[in-house]
């Protein structure tokens, strides 16, 4: 397990070692980060010139951590009379309270030193080990240490100060020469403040976000449904998910409220796909995320054709970044639109949100955005008029080659390992389009009072379903192709993508059994979850990012799809697999873990660089709870049809928010 300690609060996060120190290298994601910039890369506490040792680390909450330290880092416990308590709380930078206690019989003299430095690296520079182009500076400004970086008009600064009277500030840190009497203590409070973007938001937005953290977390937990289960691990996983979702809340600044950022440390940003799917997973539990996500993504919807940003009118974004490389257009994330699935997913969430919440007003507010999204599907998503949405990047230098959820460069392969030719029409995107049109037809008929559009969308969706079931079906294999390549050849790898087709409803009934059987086969189902690519295909690698690992969110969507087609026992098995894996991760599922069979390893093997906490992995147990309880909104009521494996005796979910007010759901393990 990781030796890094993370504290995060919306747009700011700190990653340190277990003593609270930060000694980042160019490629090490330790530091204080805000708005995609590292504002502190060195933060070392020393006592009499020595690095402290760690006694314990306590996560007080997601934004505060307490480190209990001894003055010297020794491998054998030393009965030191001096103890160090370091408490860090993150909010627009961080505050760190250092308290030193002397339990000895005599007074002690100590030289306390905090070394500080910043490389002001963009997160992309950390990830890709790139060099800076501007100049760093540092100065002492009164009682403050100012660390700065300038590149033309781009200026970022970190201001550091301490409350103790004996503080000595120099350009490399702060020093305290102190004497602590017997049984006495000394303390100081350090403030580290990043100075970055030059904006001030309107009062109505600031006020909407001005909630104290304690109150905010407490309220967040109180507003969510209460889970009672005979399986104690399940309640622990559930609480972990709710707290991690709270931690990943990201204030988009321009609209009130919060949406889920994608994950720590690389993806603390607004994403189209990740924010949409996480909001979908969390709808029965924390519907407020969906509302902010939809509003923010509508605000950023494409307005023009811009090759650099892969932008097209009506397209929903892939990712928004705020660091130096984005500022100077060395990366296209201002925002970047390289995702072919975020636009239909936007429409899917809009409909699902209304089904749960009854918030027709938001659907009316976003009618124009939804119509633009539908137009994008037909006019830009379908590049060649063949009726399928395919992608090929406009930005050939820094754009993404794969614009589906498996967005690493090598994810779309034939069974023999060859890479598929561009443009690529991956199968799950066609499913999303089918679902988006069916759902938008309902919104058009019931809320926008446009039955003509509703009829048209349903006609188009049905035609798409018919053609898709012919064009993507591999008759000799009994499953759907991963994609159609640039020559409209079927890309024949067996992949988890076929499970998303069940989720969207595009699979004709006579093909569903074969798809379900493949998903539950030993080639795809590892015992923990569904592998991204099947064992036996040439590109399969159990630790290949999108070619063999298990992604919990992927499996949660597949389980939901199996349930949709009536494969409730299979859905329950997948749910149990992922929840069992979550137990091994102390309730916090990583974005992905290795695809080794459960029967071989007996525990889920970590993927080397997986993000944690990660939003849609955090959302996976929530969607799986929905699957196990069989929850579905039907007009003004919540339908509950549990299908729970026998190993879980009982699940009760109390106070589920929705258009019905609050409802309860109960299920017993005898159900399947």
């Amino acid at each position: 397990m990781s030796t890094n300690v993370s504290s995060l609060n919306g747009n700011t996060f700190v990653v340190s070692d277990r003593t609270g120190n930060i000694a980042a290298s160019e490629t090490d994601p330790k530091g204080l980060f805000q708005d995609d910039t590292r504002f502190l890369s060195r933060w070392i506490l020393k006592v009499n010139g020595n690095l402290p040792g760690v006694l314990s680390v306590d996560d007080l909450t997601y934004y505060a951590t307490q480190f209990f330290l001894t003055p010297e880092n020794t491998t054998v416990y030393v009965n030191s009379p001096v103890a160090i308590l370091r408490k860090r709380s993150v909010h627009h930078g961080f505050r760190e309270d250092i308290t030193i206690l002397n339990y000895g019989t005599e007074a002690v003299k100590l030289d306390i030193r905090v070394e500080a430095a910043s490389d002001f690296a963009d997160l992309f520079e950390v990830k890709d080990a790139l060099k800076k182009k501007g100049e760093a500076y540092k100065r002492v400004d009164g009682h403050q240490l100012v660390l700065g970086y300038r590149r033309a008009s781009f200026v970022r600064e970190t201001r550091i100060s301490a409350t103790a009277q004996e503080t000595l500030v120099d350009e490399d840190g702060l020093s305290f020469h102190i004497q602590i009497p017997s049984q006495g203590s000394w303390s100081t409070c350090l403030h580290v403040i990043p100075i970055g973007l030059r904006y001030r938001t309107a009062a109505k937005i600031r006020d909407g976000n001005a909630v104290s953290h304690d109150h905010s977390l407490e309220q967040w937990l109180r507003d969510a449904p209460r889970l009672v289960s005979s399986w104690n691990d399940l309640t622990r996983i559930y609480r972990r998910c709710l707290i991690d979702l709270a931690a990943l809340r990201f204030s988009p600044v321009v609209v009130p409220g919060a949406l889920p950022a994608a994950g720590l440390p690389w993806f603390m940003a607004v994403f189209g796909r990740d924010s949409l799917l996480t909001s979908f997973q969390a709808l029965p539990f924390t519907p407020v995320l969906a509302k902010t996500t939809l509003r923010m993504l509508a605000l950023l919807q494409g307005t023009q054709v811009d090759d650099f940003r892969d932008e097209e009118p009506g397209k929903i974004i892939h990712e928004l970044r705020l660091g130096e490389m984005t500022a100077f257009e060395e990366r296209p994330h201002s925002p970047y639109y390289g995702a072919a699935d975020s636009t239909p997913l936007f429409l899917i969430l809009l409909d699902e949100y209304e089904r749960w919440s009854g918030d027709a007003e938001l659907v009316r507010d976003l009618e124009r955005a939804a119509r633009l999204a539908l137009a994008w599907i037909d006019n830009y998503g379908d590049r060649d008029g063949d009726g399928y949405v395919e992608y090929e990047r406009r930005n050939t230098k820094t754009g993404l080659e794969n614009q589906c959820w498996k967005d690493s460069w090598d994810s779309i392969r034939y069974a023999d390992g060859r890479h598929a030719q561009l443009p690529r029409a991956t199968c799950e995107i066609q499913g999303y389009v089918y679902d988006a049109k069916m759902r938008s037809a309902r919104l058009a008929r019931e809320i926008w009072s446009d039955p003509v559009l509703a009829d048209r969308l349903e006609r188009e969706a049905k035609a798409l379903r018919r053609r898709f079931n012919e064009d993507f079906w591999l008759v000799d294999r009994g499953y759907f192709a991963l994609a159609l390549d640039g020559k409209k050849q079927k890309v024949d790898a067996l992949s988890s993508n076929i499970g998303h087709l069940l989720w969207s409803g595009i699979v004709e009934e006579d093909k569903a059994a074969a798809v379900a059987a493949h998903l539950m086969s030993e080639r795809l189902f590892s015992g923990w979850g569904v592998r991204t690519m099947a064992e036996g295909d040439a590109a399969y690698n159990p630790i290949g990012y999108h070619v063999g690992t298990v992604w919990p969110h992927d499996t949660s969507i597949i389980a939901h799809g199996l349930q949709r087609y009536g494969y409730r026992q299979e859905a329950g098995r997948l749910a149990l697999g992922i929840l069992n894996a979550a137990v091994f991760f102390d309730g916090r599922l990583p974005e992905a873990f290795a695809g080794f069979p459960e029967s071989l390893t007996r525990y889920p093997v970590e993927y080397p660089t997986a993000c944690s906490p990660q939003a849609w992995a955090t959302g996976a147990p929530l969607l799986l709870l929905r699957v196990l309880l069989g929850m579905r909104p039907i007009q003004e009521s919540l339908l509950v049809a549990p299908a729970i494996p026998k190993t879980i005796e009982r699940i009760e979910l109390l106070g589920i928010p929705g258009r019905w007010g609050k409802a309860d759901a109960f299920g017993r393990g005898w159900s399947i």
């Binding site: 781009f154 309107a202 605000l299 950023l300 124009r368 559009l453």
Partner: protein, 115 residues
């Protein structure tokens, strides 16, 4: 105001319509160093340009120099990267800025298909 800025500003249409901004309402005030205040008002896709010192009715105030202003209104400076670089200082309703970030050059937007 330098001559180039004066020439560019003289060419800007004072009124117009952009279908992409249907349902958008708001006023942005550009405080341009050495030029003064330049206001852009949008009302359901119709826009008009106002000159003068007032900014009391502005939902959004953008402070910038002449060079950045010209690049912005000619569509060569992205609004967000301008803010990130520190070339544009924004205050007020940032959502408005995001909404009309593609409006420049005025009156030359693509006709966006809407279903």
């Amino acid at each position: 105001m330098n001559q180039h800025t004066a020439e560019v500003m003289a060419r800007i249409p004072r009124i117009g319509y952009d279908v992409r901004y249907t349902s958008l309402r708001g006023t942005a005030c550009f405080k341009v160093e050495g030029v003064g205040n330049w206001r852009l008002r949008i009302d359901d896709g119709h826009f008009d340009v106002l000159l003068g010192d007032g900014d009391a009715d502005a939902d959004l105030v953008l402070s910038l120099d002449q060079e950045t202003f010209i690049e912005l209104i000619e569509g060569r400076q992205n609004f967000l990267t301008g803010v990130l670089q520190g070339r544009i200082r924004a205050e007020g309703d940032l959502a408005l800025a995001f909404r009309f970030r593609g409006i420049f050059p005025l009156g030359q937007g693509p006709s966006t298909p809407v279903m």
